[in-house]
Symmetry: C2
Subunit: 162 residues, 2 copies
DNA sequence: GATTTTTACTCAGCAATTGAGTATTCACTT
DNA sequence: AAGTGAATACTCAATTGCTGAGTAAAAATC
């Protein structure tokens, strides 16, 4: 973010960069911006234009910046959030040229590892069916862990800067 | 289902059997039943009791039965629905002692395979980052495919019956 | 006989999402 | 030069879903 943007630009940034990952509707974006503004994370001014409709320009506030930095540095706690939220973090990191990617991925590995262990151990593995269900998780998490290694490789090659 | 049940029983059936897979709140269950009733998939009668509060008994209708049978025989179209919806199908299949499990799993394999191919091929693989994103999918789907094999083994051993 | 758990349900209210609508400008065509 | 379609830029009403809080009695447990 950094620079101020119109809602429309925010929408383009999200919907084009996260195509196939996260579908964001136009009004969805504006809804989020409204929420963010009412919480004090962004502020907006109306940009007047002679004989054109006014447009609104959004800027991130100090509060918003610190929330963002906090968000982007922390791994997600649930496996289900990997596919959208974690990938969104990577996208921001890459597109805004931020550092801390390796930290994030390493942190995510730890979180996943812990979840994997907790899925594994406390089983007392009642029925066969329950084992099948926990195998699903195990399976998924292991494949994510191996993908996170790919992430690290990606970050190394694509020269992580700043 | 088959037999009529109180909303409370439906809730217990779902929340106990799908613990850790799908969290269903009490009011959530009643909300769904209300929706189902207004769509004509279940019907309910109030069971009067002398000096006790009345309870409502839900039964599945013909329309509901055919919807259910249709639902349970068809694989899910999106990968993200595997973790809850597909597993719910397996749970119903197992718990109601229905046949068609192998059919379902085989069908799901085909769907996943197709998604895997479509993720793979049309790539024109723009950036490295995009490749990383599509690797995530690929990785996930492959692990699901191997888990679906486990499902088949489970169905064979646990004597699938009429 | 007192407390906790289980059975059984309702409802108001909020948040999120969606679709539909509005209006202007720019690029491109014919 | 007029017309068309896509891109820019946004608003709003409505529905839907979801959640928490509340109610109340019976059964089990202490």
């Amino acid at each position: 973010m950094k620079r101020p943007m119109h809602g429309y630009d925010v929408h383009k940034f999200l919907s084009s960069g996260l195509k196939g990952v996260w579908y964001v509707g136009m009004s969805n974006t504006y809804g989020m911006l409204k929420k963010l503004e009412s919480d004090g994370h962004v502020s907006s001014v109306i940009e007047m234009q002679t004989n054109r409709p006014a447009r609104r320009v959004f800027s991130i506030t100090k509060k918003g910046t610190s929330l963002f930095e906090d968000w982007i540095s922390k791994p997600v706690s649930n496996i289900r959030d990997l596919r959208v939220e974690f990938i969104a973090k990577l996208y921001f990191l890459k597109d805004l040229n931020l550092s801390g990617g390796e930290r994030l991925v390493e942190g995510q590995k730890v979180v996943c590892q812990k979840i994997l262990e907790s899925t594994h151990l406390p089983t007392a593995e009642r029925s066969e069916f329950n084992r099948l269900l926990s195998d699903f998780r195990t399976c998924q998490i292991r494949s994510i862990l191996s993908w996170l290694e790919d992430c690290l490789k990606f970050l190394e090659t694509s020269g992580n800067n700043a």
